[in-house]
């Protein structure tokens, strides 16, 4: 969870958007963190580099919990 928050903050920082302090399974990537489609693309790439999982490979993810689920399914 901490690693995901770190990655999210890198993406937000690269677009000059405010950092986040806490995240939970139900955090919504677009509505809670203000990520747009370009940010989600960068998030995908950074998660893929870390976990070798393409979270958008089969369908859209909207929450932090869904990202963790995709990463855990891979393990």
């Amino acid at each position: 969870m901490n690693k995901i928050r770190e990655i999210l903050n890198t993406v937000l920082e690269n677009r000059g958007k405010p950092q986040i302090n806490s995240i939970s399974d139900s955090s919504d990537l677009r509505n809670d963190f203000g990520l747009d489609s370009l940010d989600l693309a960068e998030l995908t790439v950074r998660i893929e580099a870390e976990y070798d999982v393409d979270i958008f490979q089969d369908g859209i993810v909207t929450t932090v919990g869904e990202i963790l689920e995709k990463i855990n399914n891979k393990k």
Partner: protein, 243 residues
């Protein structure tokens, strides 16, 4: 810092010239791809062993782009700064003889695989926060029309549209995409034309001469560089002033 550029179709003609022009700047490193290794390519590899790596890959294979090119050849940890989509095959025939299989194969090599490569190139730009530059090579046949080139020109026209929209989509991330529209050059691509056919083509240009391969290669190198940082979504014609 070393700039890493991915170039396809490096074994012959324009591809060889592009690699030479890029390597002329000793801060550049080339990851080159082609199906076969020619004698000229081999020499270039030997003479630039520390700044030029090569992979044999057939672009009609749309499925192994990520694994073979990005994971194994370039490596996820390597920052990428540019991509030159140069490789292409020509399917020449009049439209009434058009067949699906060769058309599909040409589209795989000229359009579909380059689009998939672009996907991973942009992902690599994003991962490393590089101000990446993509250059597609198109052909003057898209803009003028020549007998027998309808299918080939259609594939290049697709790339021009793809580039324009890539530029619009990714500009905010300082990623650029441009097209160099090349005129007829004296390469193997146009070797099947007769002297008379070539002569008629060259007469349709302002300069009345074939397009010089090196001039095309230098324009590509310029578009890859930071000198071209405000140029994106453009088609740059290097075609002896085709009219």
């Amino acid at each position: 810092m070393m700039k890493n550029i991915l170039v396809t179709g490096v074994s012959r003609g324009l591809g060889l010239e592009i690699v030479k022009a890029i390597l002329a700047d000793d801060e550049n490193f080339v990851y080159g791809i082609s199906r076969l290794k020619t004698k000229e390519l081999d020499e270039l590899l030997i003479n630039n062993a520390n700044r030029f790596k090569w992979l044999s890959y057939d672009l009609s294979n749309v499925n192994d782009v990520r694994n073979k090119i990005f994971k194994e050849f370039i490596g996820v940890t390597t920052p990428l700064h540019g991509f030159v989509n140069n490789a292409a095959i020509a399917y020449d025939d009049i439209v009434t003889n058009l067949k699906y299989e060769p058309l599909l194969n040409m589209y795989n090599v000229n359009v579909f695989t380059p689009m998939i490569i672009s996907k991973y190139v942009i992902r690599q730009f994003l991962l490393h926060n590089t101000k990446g530059s993509i250059v597609h090579i198109s052909s003057i046949s898209v803009h003028t029309g020549y007998k027998g080139l309808a299918m080939y020109a259609s594939s290049k026209g697709a790339l021009e549209a793809f580039s324009k929209n890539t530029a619009r989509e990714w500009g905010e991330k300082t990623i650029r995409s441009n097209v160099v529209v090349a005129g007829f050059m004296e390469t193997e691509m146009s070797a099947m034309l007769s002297a008379d056919q070539k002569d008629r083509i060259y007469k349709r240009t302002s300069l009345k001469t074939p397009t010089v391969t090196k001039s095309v290669a230098e324009t590509i190198t310029f578009l890859l560089s930071q000198k071209a940082e405000s140029i994106t979504g453009q088609n740059i014609h290097v075609d002896s002033g085709t009219i």
